[in-house]
Amino acid sequence: MIDELTQTINIDQEKISLNWERGPMAMPTERLEELVAWGRASRTVGYVFRPSTVDDLRAVFGLAEASGRTVTFRAGGNSYGDAGANGENIILSVTRMNRILEWYPQTGRITVEPGVTLQQLWEYILGDGWWIPIATGTMKTTVGGCAAMNTHGKNGWQAGTFGDHVESFELLLPSGELITCDRQQNRDIFHAAIGGFGMLGCFTRLTMQMKRVYSGLIQVETYVTRNLAETMSYFEAHVAEYDYFVGWLDAMVRGRAVGRADIHKARHLAPGEDPMPAQTLRLENQRLPANVMGIIPNSLIWRFQRPFWNDFGMYFVNMAKYWAARWHNHNSYRQPHALFHFLLDYFDWDKPFGPGGLIQYQPFIPVANAEAAFGEIFRHCHKRGLPNYLSVLKRHRPDPFLISYGVDGYSMAMDFRITARNRPRVVQMTRELDEIVLKYGGRFYLAKDSTLRPAIAAAYLGDETIARFTALKQRLDPDCLLESNLWRRLFKDGGSG
């Protein structure tokens, strides 16, 4: 007995894990971190590793195998739901693999490591007269993260998605093998890993084509519409005349005015339009003011917004935005690229939503049904007493990738505030919205999803697509080392679980 007591007091960490026959190799608890989804509506705990080389990536795969844990890649952590979450398993953060490897300013071709952020990218290339072909609403996303979700910008109908601008990449498979994929070699993997939410392997090196620009400024025009019908018909009539097109809709207002919008249209300047491109292309001239009106630091703005971020306050915020926009209707001005694309980055966009955070719900609807679908969705949200605080309308086109949300039509990105009390009601409502979206032939975007069920995913992607994807995963990752909360929620076990 005494022996036993002393033995248990001098615990040897190494031995413990091996002693317990059912248990796999112990994981280092110092790696445990809480990971919060963007928007703060959900959080998980995982063992986080941050390697800087491909060999170290392989070592983490080895640890995963030895410890019986699965691996999820994570980059900027800007997905709203669970794409970058892997509760109680391994999170392989690629943020430290962030070197720009090759850059050809004559041709605009660039090769980078996956953790390079869009901010790093544009700040590096702009001085040579290039811009990123597809910009997400935040520049904190990474090249790897954007390829994995196949992100879109405000130019989707004409420029496609992120994957359309990727020329080739290297993918590290769970076996440790590094393969090169492009539109000739490993064609099937190329089209499945882009948009494949990190389930086939890790991008370790990506080559992309950037977009030529002749100024650091972009020409922006605004237009205000009075209701959803006008918004949709204005988009359809004029979208082709511009490079970028986006509508900020008011979904808080009830009745006929719902869907009235502040539309921003923009085009790149042609050579010669900017008399001093060397100056406007300088980084210094892209920087935004650190204060609003020169007084309030941006980092404090959310404290002023916070009191308005509820159903009542947002009604007035949306209304004020609408009337302010009408006041400036038909405005036309030049703006730095960074300001036009990444305005949200200069504020803490999620903080005004309070401790429960927010989710986004972004359905993609074919042109013919878009107006009917969005109208029905807005009305349904009002009926359920859960109107959405901010709605952003964009135009898209279909894409050639396997896991695709692309449609020849529109997407509406809607922000819903989450509280401990409304959570079950939001979940219930999104299920009802899912049915509306499917009824109109719509699709969903996994980077923004928190609520889909396996049956809905199967309905919009099609059983055959899912079967093709899982077969490819079986081939590249036979031991199912790569899993995420998203994968388990929607696709594991053929989506039945």
Binding site: M1, I2, E4, L5, Q7, T8, I9, I11, D12, Q13, K15, I16, S17, L18, N19, W20, R22, G23, P24, A26, M27, T29, E30, L32, E33, E34, A37, A41, S42, T44, V45, G68, R69, G81, D82, A85, G87, E88, N89, I359, I418, R423, P424, V426, V427, S450, T451, N485, R488, R489, K492, D493, G497
Partner: protein, 265 residues
Amino acid sequence: MNESSAQIERPLEPKKRAIIVGASAGIGAALLRVLVEDGYHAAAIARRQEALQELCTEINTRAARSQTGAGRAYPYPHDVSNSGEVPGLFQQIVHDLGGLDLIIYNAGVMPPVALNEYSFEKDASMVQVNLLGGIAWLNQAAERFERTGQGHIVGISSVAGDRGRIISPVYNSSKAGFTTYLEALRNRLTRHGVNVTTIKPGQVETAMLAHVKKRLWVITPEAAAADMLKAIKSKKQTVYVPRRWGPFMLIIRHIPSFIFRRLSI
């Protein structure tokens, strides 16, 4: 065990996960029942494999019938005297459950000890199960909860830890030690957003009470578990179960030693 139901996590429908150490009988079994009814996915730990399996099956069958979003119980046979197993088993369970929100250390033994008996064997077993086992398990949880900034630790101590009495020197010491350990954990962890609850039951009608002659305010394990769940939900720091033991023990704690020495309690 089929753990997939605990592992599928929907972002907006987070599951509640618990570990109960000492869950095969008595208070622990009753706690397991109320937690699963309340929606917890709970790992149940004790030595008796069959009793544990049977209990979990029964609880799960009932949970499957109820409409109200009940959780599930998962048996994990283990003897807390094997402290060396704890870190590996703890990690395994948390992995199987897909997370951890609550841990309850309830395992305890109180072998009958005669008034003139000084058996080291019996005494060591009480320290081993009531105190060292608690430290082995709760240290694991404390480390994890401190790192992740959330979680709830519950220790089932006893009114018996409030004073040293003639009939049970080492049971008293083990519970006093456990109570102090829990207090120290609370002082360490509150600042990290972790709750620590010390529960001190009075007398509960279980196998442990079988050889106890002096009885006062005895309640059923079900009644005890219901009170405990309430205390856990409202994140209490220290509670007596039932509550009337609170004022009573306040008096007992303040009886001066020169009197207490002469009493036969």
